[in-house]
Structure formats: structure tokens, C-alpha cells
Assembly symmetry: C2
């Protein structure tokens, strides 16, 4: 695939790179940003002035709508460098489509394809030295759009800003993830915005997650808001259950995010001849499987950690430990995914996207 030229985007060059100030062996996730960022404004009914400029602060009125009404969406993507120094994205077309699906639900104007891909190409080329090769290293890429009209009337903004910022990331070791099954709080409603990467979906989970943390658990597995009977997603990850040798995950819906890692895992399962069921799964089925020993694994799938094995879950004050698995699906999928992402394996599905 050819590298895009700058047909639309203006580039303002940095004076001096910050690269030498970064300790790549001790990165905190999402805290250190690269030299450049992309910025594009929606005004007078169109997206205009796409610009790549030195990473820096924004000047915004305190009456900017995003502060008051949460009219904002985002994506999470990663770039990987192989041993030859070539840089790849992973299925960026899916992120592009999804941010526009999210935007539509949040009444934000859709972003043009040519700007999105040209911005990614140019940004990653300019900041290529920020992408470190090696196991688990990546450049985390955060496209986002937000309402920038000045005014506090509760109506859609008529101005927006679309930005892409990037932060180098190390292997994201989540440790043993222990989860709580939600019995009282909910993440999303039928007819709501749960399928969108809308900003407010994340802030709304912080308090219930804090309550879980106080009890020694790191994440919440959300259940349906109607009955808290069906397992849905973990808020920043989709969730897979392995009962016997069958993999089960909830179908996407207007409450559940259509995760890129989720669908990649399903594809790999098919490729590996692992039986996978996309169906509603009841909490009671999970508990039963934990009790009778057929529950072999739970793991999360998402861009940040790729695959996060879950070591225990709590439900109705009982903690169910999940024994370590010799032949772990989680481990296998993680290796296969990372081998494709980092260009150490064939790419039978065309997921790698050369970018710089």
C-alpha cells in the first residue's frame, strides 16, 4: 500500500524534538506524547484546515460545550515497528468506521476518510522515531472529536475539533485481573450510547470501578441493565469466556462496543478450529461452570492490553478463582495477534497496514 502524500494537510514543523527527554523503559501509559499532533476544525458546516503542528496546549473558553455536555468521541489504535524499521497499523479501517458510527450517535459530523488516513500517515512518518521496535512496544494513537462551540445552551454544538495525539507505550502488563460482575450499577441502556466510544460512557464507569478496587478487584464486567442477568463487556475490553473448549462472547448490540480485538479473536478462533459461540451468556451459566470445573478461562480483549487474562471473578459476595490453564486460549490469541501486529508472522487476513 502506498504512503499518502500531503494533499490536504498543512504541516508546521517543530523546532526541536522532545524524543531525547523520554525514558522508553519507564513509560506510564498515555502520559508522554510525541512531537506532533493533528488538529482539524469543523466550522460553517465543514471540516477545514487540517493541520499537523507541534504537540501543545489548546486555548478554550470555559463555556466550550464539551466541558458541559460531554459531546465527544474517541478511538484507540496502535502502531508497531518491525525489526526492519517498518511501521504498521492494525486494521485502521475499523477505527475509522467506528469513530464515525460513534460521532453519528453523538450528533457530531462525520470525519472525512481522506483527512483521517492522510493524518495518520503523515503523523506516524513525522514521529516515526517514537515507535519503538521490540516485543509489546507500540505507539498508542488517540483520535478524538469534541464539541467546541462556546455556549451553555443544551443543544448540539455547531463547531467541533478533531484531533489525533500519540503516546509511546510499553507492553501493557495488567497483572492478574480480578473482576466483579455488576449486580447494581449499569454501563448502558437499550437505545442508549453503549455501542459508541462516547466520552461519557467511560467517566460513568469510574465510580463503580472504584468500589470494585476498594474490594481488591480491578475491573467490572457489566451485565444488562434490565435484569443484571447477562454478561456484556468490561467497559474498556470485550470479554470472552471459555467453558470446556468452547469460547463464548456476547453479541454486539446498542449496549456493547464492536471491538476490533474482539472480532480479531473470533477470526483467529475460527482459523485455529476453536469452537466459538457469539451468544448471550447468563451469569448463572458462568457461576455453574465455575462450580463444576468447566470454566477454564475468562479474558478481556481490547487495544490497550490486547488480551487480559482474568484470574478471578466475584458475584453475590462469592469469589470464584479461575485455575491457571496449561493450554491457554488467552496466551495463544495474544501471541498470534502480536505476531501479526509486529510483522513476525504471516497476515492471512490483511490486518497489517503499512504506514511509515
Amino acid at each position: 500500500m502506498s504512503i499518502a502524500t500531503n494533499e490536504h494537510i498543512t504541516v508546521e514543523k517543530i523546532k526541536k524534538s522532545k524524543l531525547d527527554q523520554v525514558d522508553f523503559d519507564n513509560l506510564t501509559f498515555g502520559k508522554n506524547f510525541t512531537d506532533y499532533m493533528f488538529e482539524c476544525d469543523y466550522k460553517d458546516g465543514k471540516w477545514q484546515n487540517p493541520t499537523i503542528k507541534p504537540y501543545g496546549n489548546l486555548e478554550l473558553s470555559p463555556a466550550t460545550k464539551v466541558f458541559h455536555y460531554g459531546q465527544a468521541v474517541f478511538e484507540g489504535m496502535k502502531a508497531y515497528k518491525d525489526d526492519q524499521g517498518e511501521v504498521f497499523l492494525f486494521r485502521p479501517e475499523d477505527n475509522f468506521k467506528r469513530i464515525n458510527i460513534s460521532s453519528k450517535r453523538m450528533a457530531i459530523p462525520e470525519f472525512p476518510r481522506e483527512f483521517f488516513f492522510e493524518a495518520l500517515h503523515t503523523l506516524v512518518q513525522l514521529d516515526k522515531d517514537w515507535v519503538q521496535p521490540g516485543e509489546g512496544n507500540s505507539l498508542y494513537i488517540r483520535p478524538f472529536a469534541m464539541a467546541t462551540e462556546v455556549g451553555v445552551s443544551a443543544a448540539p454544538s455547531d463547531e467541533y475539533k478533531f484531533m489525533i495525539i500519540m503516546a509511546p507505550a510499553q507492553a501493557y502488563y495488567t497483572g492478574d485481573v480480578r473482576v466483579v460482575i455488576a449486580e447494581q450499577f449499569s454501563r448502558s441502556a437499550d437505545g442508549g450510547v453503549g455501542f459508541a466510544k462516547a466520552a461519557g460512557n467511560y467517566g460513568a464507569q469510574f465510580y463503580p470501578t472504584n468500589l470494585a478496587r476498594e474490594k481488591g478487584f480491578q475491573q467490572v464486567i457489566w451485565t444488562d441493565a434490565k435484569e443484571h442477568k447477562y454478561l456484556e463487556e468490561a467497559g474498556t475490553m470485550n470479554v470472552f469466556f471459555r467453558i470446556g473448549d468452547t469460547l463464548i462472547t456476547a453479541p454486539t448490540s446498542d449496549r456493547i462496543l464492536d471491538g476490533v480485538t474482539r472480532k480479531s479473536v473470533l477470526k483467529l478462533a475460527e482459523h485455529n478450529g476453536i469452537k466459538a459461540e457469539v451468544r448471550r451468556i447468563q451469569v448463572s451459566e458462568l457461576v455453574e461452570a465455575a462450580k463444576n470445573g468447566t470454566l477454564k478461562e475468562i479474558f478481556g480483549a481490547g487495544t490497550a492490553a490486547v488480551i487480559s487474562p482474568v484470574s478471578a471473578f466475584s458475584y453475590q459476595e462469592t469469589v470464584y478463582d479461575i485455575p491457571k490453564q496449561e493450554d491457554s486460549y488467552a496466551k495463544r490469541f495474544k501471541k498470534e495477534l502480536m505476531d501479526i501486529q509486529q510483522n513476525r508472522a504471516d497476515d492471512p487476513f490483511g490486518w497489517r497496514y503499512p504506514v511509515a
Copy 2:
């Protein structure tokens, strides 16, 4: 009640007021802000440096958490000036309590009472000339809190900003409000954040509201997400139904905002000997009442418009017009509320709060 002195708040004076640049006869709601604003930062585990300063822009990193995770809450209040030039707030204690209820649900640290009230007193005193006397005129006050930590990991911020900005407002004439009863989209889930004035609750309503507007309706009356069977609230207003001579409104819950105007209307109804029922009300009951002629009024109650009479509602593709009422409850409550707010009537409930 005594006017607070500045025990905690630092005041940075403006050089020159913008007051003479404002056309008070042609105000757009929430667009023109006063000379001063209040700002206070949460850092190192405490709210600090409460400051009143000239209204102006903020400088924020593009990685500021509020942009990405919608961790933000707000309040809406109004100040009124009477004919003697005295300025009053309306039940500010309720707004103070509610912003902390909202904050707790959004994992934002609660804001100290003394800072909140001292800020209101001092701000309104400094900007007293921005409060215009006269029917329907007010100063709209917008306290809000937002996550300001720099970083894109999906976890609660460890830094926040609490601000108060103020905008002069004229009588908010909503015209004939025509509403759509929600049949597909939802505003909030059981166990969610619907009861909080969380930023994302508002952005999430923009798209369904746009769809309603395209069909000639201005607002959506939300129904329960489970079955779309019960009438809840209008997103920026609570909703009252008058069937025969009985007033009905939905009980507050974790899906429905505990509106200050809503509870004031209930109090006034009691005071006026009007029968009011706080109970779940089915869409089918409303439709039946519209058909048999017992539905006399629908109106919204909220800070911005005080009372908004609804002239028609749409449900399952049928539009039900509500005939104009001679002895309108909406009109009566609006007059009584505004007379109390603007100090033209007795205040038997102690709702007025002298502030400057």
C-alpha cells in the same frame, strides 16, 4: 442573611468591564458571559486556590481527561434582581447538594460548601450590574467540575477544576413546545448516571432530539429503557401531566433528575390545594387521556425556562394536540414561581436567598 466576606477566595480584578458591550435586549441564551469567573483546582488530594478572576480562556492539554472520558458535572442556577436592586438566588442549597451528588457518581471529589457559597456571593456582588431587573430577566449561573489530569488512561482523574461562569439571560420563551415520546432511544439505565447532571447525559440526547426536530418537534420525553412504557423526563426538564384536575409527575429515581423546579411545583401545588400525584405514569394512560379529553396540560419544569407548556405530543406516528387551557396550571405555577424568584410576592417556603 449576611453577605459572606472573602475568607478563602482570592480576587483578581478586571481592568475594564465588558458590560457596555452587551445588548441586553438581544441576548442569546448562554452566549455572553460576565466580567468574572470562579476557578478552583483539585490537586494533591484537596481543593485549593479558590480564585475569582477576569473571565477568560483556559489553557489545557489535548490529553486532558474531560475531553476523552466525559468525567464532568454541572449545575444550572439563576440570580434575580428586584425593583429595589437587591439580588436573590433561588434555593441554592439544592444546587450545592446536587452537584456533590452528581460528582460522587462521577468519581469527582465533593466540593466544599464554604467555597461554593463564598464564590457565589463574591461573584454576584462583583458582577451585580450584569443582573437586570424586570420580568423574566436573570443571570444564569453555571457551576461545573471537570477532570483535568493530563493522560489518556481510562481511570479517574487525580486533578479537577471547579468553575462558575455566569451569563445574563432574558425571559426564555420556548414557544409552543411539541414533544415526541421516546419509543426506541433511551436517556438512562437503572444503575446508570441519569439522576446526575453528568455532562455525557446531555450529549447523548442530541441525536435523538435532532431526529425529533426534523419532524417538527422540539424535545423528547424519555421513557424507561426497559419497556418504553413509563414517562420519565424531558432531558433538560422534568415533566408534569394534568389529567382532569390532577397533576402527575414521575418519581425521581436513579434515572430521573431531582429537579429544583420540579419539587417547587409540587410544593406550590400542595399550597394551592391542587391534587398532585408522584407516581409512575404509563404512556398508554397519557394516550387514553388525550383521546377521551381528560388530558388538559403537559408542561416541563426546569431552571432555564422555569415552566414550558407543551402543545402537542407524538406517539406511534400519531400527533395528539393539547387544547389551550383557560385555567392553566402551567401559567399559574410560572407566575407564582417568578413572583417569588423576583421578590414580588411573599416567600412562605424560604426559597429566596439574598446574595448581593
